[in-house]
Every structure is written in C-alpha cells, then in structure tokens.
C-alpha cells in the first residue's frame, strides 16, 4: 500500500514539473545571438558543394556554410555548425537547438506552418541520377524501379507525384544512396540538381538524364514568429547580392556565374 501511494505521488510530481508554466521568452534571436557571441547553424554534412566536411581541415565547408559565415560576420559573432539531416532540420529549429538552418531546405508552404523562412537564396530543381548501364532516360521508365531518396526530404514524395509507380527506398544520407546506386541495389536516385551534377562529375559511371521535375527554391529556416531575426537575415542576403559578394561565393563553389537572379525576389530599399 505504501509503495503504491509513493508511486502515485511520484507520478503527480513528474506531471507537476511538466506542467509548470514557463515564462514566455519574447526576446528575439537577434539579441540572443549577439549576447551569446556564437551563431549556431544547422548545415548539411553530406551535400557537396552546399554543405559538407572538408577532408583537409575536417571543418564544415560549402556554399550554405559561407552564407552563414557572412551573417555571423555582420553580427560580429563566431559560428558553430551542427549537422542537420533532412529529417532533423525542422525539429532542430522548433526545439531551439540551432538559430538558423541553411541545409538545402526547400521553402514549402507546409513547412512554413511550423517555422519561418528567409527569402530565397538559391533556385534549383529535382532530377534523378542513374547508372549508365540501366538505360533509363525518362521519368516514365522509372515505373516499378527502385529509387533511393533521403528520408525527410521531399525528393521521394515529389517523384511519386509525377511517377506513382516508382518504389522509393529511403536512406538516411546521400552517401548511402550513392553506395546503394553503385552496388545496383537501386536503379536511380533522386535529389536536388546541384548535388546530382557534383556526383555525376565525380563518378564517370553515372548520368543525369531527363529534365527537372520540380522547382526548388531554397530558404534558410528560422524560428517561427521572430520578425526581427528574419528581417536581419533577409537584409544580409540582399546586401550580399547588391555588393556582388554573393556572386563571388557562387563562383567559388560552382565555377560560373549564378544562373538566376535574386533580383526577381528581392525588395528594394
């Protein structure tokens, strides 16, 4: 009897902890990050050239990473990079583990319900990549074939919208997708075009046929309802475009001039 009462009391104690009202923090991340002195950003570790680990230095590098470093420079703080998988990047923002996420995240309206997005900083699309020996040239030929995608990304579901008969095999990171493709466990792989071009360049046995089947505008993920922080990030991105610093970073990673214009989405002073 005594043990039962102790058990119930401890349950109630735990419930009381969970239910204690916490003070509403109205402080914007802009103020918080400046106070903290470090900008914690979620980036990809497996997505060259947008976000990956540089083999020589062992640190994060990539286009997304450089943009985040520019934001941190404007704030006058240091940077700390955390790995953001496709399936963890939104929970990381919602739980407050990171201040922003620059991880090749497409701005989708369904995602906008739970987090906020910065303005678009890159436009790309999704395609599939396959081995030379499969002879697949068109999306219609993917019917009944096994296609690898990353769990949590929208490449898999988008493919099912245009080719409902494809079989999606979900892995955790792009490295596993590539390995499965090379080992003939899957016949194709879908993800954003930027990554596919990189893979095709470095793996002569792979080709990228067909056309883009979606348009993917990338935005940085930010905490919901934090207007000051979002305005600041947007301003930094616009300034990068106006001062052509964006073009320099783009050239560094892609070797050519940007093939779209942020001017189409910007707002004048």
């Amino acid at each position: 009897m005594r043990r039962v009462i102790t058990g119930i009391l401890s349950l109630l104690l735990v419930a009381a902890f969970v239910a204690v009202p916490r003070s509403h923090s109205a402080e914007s991340l802009l103020v918080k990050v400046k106070k903290r002195g470090v900008l914690i950003a979620g980036v990809k570790f497996d997505f060259p050239p947008m976000g990956f680990i540089d083999k020589k230095t062992g640190k994060s590098a990539g286009f997304d990473v450089d943009l985040v470093k520019e934001i941190a420079k404007k704030l006058g703080v240091k940077t700390k990079f955390v790995q953001a998988l496709s399936k963890t990047r939104i929970p990381l923002i919602i739980n407050g583990n990171v201040d922003l996420v620059a991880a090749t995240m497409t701005h989708k309206r369904s995602r906008d319900k739970v987090i906020d997005f910065s303005m678009h900083y890159l436009i790309t699309g999704q395609r599939f990549i396959t081995r030379r020996d499969t002879g697949i040239k068109h999306i219609s030929q993917l019917a009944g074939k096994r296609v690898a995608s990353v769990q949590g990304g929208n490449a898999g579901p988008n493919l099912l919208k245009v080719q409902p008969k494809a079989i999606i095999v979900p892995f955790q990171e792009h490295t596993e997708n590539l390995l499965a493709l090379k080992q003939k466990k899957v016949d194709a792989m879908v993800t954003d075009d930027i990554l596919l071009q990189y893979f095709a360049k470095n793996n002569p046995g792979l080709v990228v046929p067909g056309k883009l089947y979606t348009i993917e505008p990338y935005g940085m993920g930010l905490r919901e309802n934090d207007s000051d922080w979002r305005d600041f990030v947007n301003e930094v991105l616009l300034e990068l475009w106006e001062t052509k610093r964006y073009h320099a970073i783009w050239k560094k990673w892609f070797g050519r001039n940007p093939d779209f214009s942020l001017q189409n989405v910007w707002f004048p002073k």
Partner: protein
C-alpha cells in the same frame, strides 16, 4: 512409463488447473490500485478533456493527437514489419544461442574454439556496424566474387541483411547466457549420470539441458526483448519498420511529440506482450516469477 517418469509436462498440467494471475492478495490490490488510477487519469483527460495544470510552452505547442489516428495505417505497417523481423530473428538466434552455449562447454576441442570465436566476434561489434556490413559490405563481396565474374544478379535484400545481423548479434549474447546456465548445474549430476551408464549425448539431452534451459529463462527473456528494441536500428538500411514510420508521421504532420510518443507506446506494447507470454510460460512450467524459490 513409471509414475516418477512423468516429468515436466504432467507437473505443468496440474499447475495449470490452479493457475492464478496474482501470487498474493496484496499483489492483486496493488496492481488494481495503480493501474486503476492511471486508467482513471487517462479517461479524465481524454474523455472529459480536463487537465488541472496550465501547460504553457515557449512555442505555444498545440497537442494534435488526432493526427495519430489518421496515420494509424502507417503505424500498423511498421508494427507488421517489426514483428516479421522479430519472429525470424527470435527463432534463428535461439537456435544459435543454444548450439553456441553447448558448443562452448563441450569437450570436443574444435567445436569449442569455433563457438568461442563466434561469440567473441559478434558480441563485440556494434549492431549498427554489423547491419551495415551485412547490407553494404556483403554486397561488395558478392559483387566482386559472384556478380561480375559470372554475370549473376544476386542482390542482398535489406530484410535479409537485418535478420542476419540481428540473429548473429543476439545469438552470441544468448550463447553466453546458455553457457552460464549449463555451468550452474552441479558437477555431481554429470558424474552421477555418467556413472549410471548414460552416454554423453543422453546426459545432455535428459539431464543437463532440461535443467539449464529452465534456469536461464529470465536472462533469456531480456535478450528476447533486446531483439525487438534493437530492430529499431534497421531503419538505417531502408527497412520501413515502426521507428521509420514514426519518423515519417513526424515529417508529414510536424507533430513530433505525438508521433514519437505513439511509436514509443507501440514498442512498449510489443515488449510488454512478449514479457506477458514469457511470464505465462514460466507460470505454466510451475515456476514462480516473483519469489526466490
């Protein structure tokens, strides 16, 4: 058959007739009180929607338990796959475990060496690494030695790799458990049976193993539960089990807490059902679960 020879089964049959779910009135009272109050609290919350505390979080999180009902198909699919992996791995690892336990205590030297090396290798490598090796590593070997020279198209399916890795891993642990059970049988039994004229095989089959396997039921039940829990790792080699579907619900609805809680509760349900079956089996054999004798 003489009267004393009836053995385990008839003893169990007499016990079944008097089978009681609780071992004492105090136990029954405690059980009903705790679970009754939990059920009362649950009904109070879900049916009457009254919660005495004011839950306020930093992001004004809205509970959305309704989405779990909408996605029940996913959860059921996940449970089916997990159960399939569990069933196959259970059978294979039990067989492996018993063979391995006997193998490590046998007198035949090469069997002992073989079993010992199996246990030490597969016990000490993390399960995730073993699964990856079974899925990707083995495929490379098959590609190099079979597919390319002979043009065959042998592809290792992910469920096969998962069950292989899980059985080998758990079988090693079970082998150690069985070995400890065998070692706990007093040496006098060996001497008595051998001097009574029974062969080594007969001693194993009629004297040692029946006692040892009953002794090791509690630690074996832990290993059986480990199979269910470790199967969650299978998600990393593209097996769409319960863990995978919990995450998928979270991706589509962004109701993270509800999605993961329902997955957790389903895992808990599976493990508690297994525990119930094992306890029931022990009671049927006439063993008490909660006392020392």
């Amino acid at each position: 058959m003489s009267g004393e020879d009836r053995g385990l089964v008839s003893g169990a049959m007499t016990k079944i007739r008097r089978w009681q779910p609780f071992e004492s009135p105090r136990e029954r009272k405690a059980f009903l009180l705790t679970w009754g109050s939990v059920a009362a609290l649950a009904i109070w919350y879900f049916v009457f929607k009254l919660w005495p505390f004011n839950i306020e979080t930093e992001f004004a999180y809205q509970w959305r338990w309704g989405v779990i009902w909408d996605y029940r198909g996913f959860l059921l699919k996940g449970v089916a796959v997990t159960m399939y992996i569990f069933a196959w791995s259970l059978v294979i690892s039990l067989v492996l475990g018993v063979f391995c336990g006997v193998g490590r205590t046998t007198e035949i030297r090469w069997v002992r060496v073989f079993s010992t090396s199996y246990v030490e290798i597969f016990r000490n490598i993390p399960l995730l690494v073993q699964m990856w090796w079974a899925y990707f590593g083995l495929q490379e070997l098959v590609n190099v030695f079979m597919n390319e020279p002979f043009g065959t198209q042998v592809l290792i399916p992910s469920t096969f790799a998962c069950i292989l890795a899980l059985s080998l891993y758990t079988g090693a642990y079970m082998g150690e458990v069985v070995r400890s059970g065998i070692r706990s049988i007093p040496k006098g039994q060996w001497e008595a049976s051998l001097s009574s004229g029974l062969s080594r095989y007969q001693t194993w089959r009629h004297i040692i193993l029946p006692q040892a396997l009953v002794i090791v039921i509690p630690p074996m039940s832990s290993q059986v539960l480990n199979i269910i829990k470790n199967s969650a790792v299978a998600m990393t080699i593209a097996i769409t089990d319960l863990m995978f579907y919990s995450q998928k619900i979270e991706e589509e609805t962004f109701a993270g807490f509800e999605a993961y809680t329902s997955g957790t509760l389903l895992f808990l349900l599976l493990t508690l059902m297994t525990v119930g079956v094992i306890y029931g089996g022990q009671r049927m054999l006439g063993l008490k679960v909660r006392s020392a004798t």
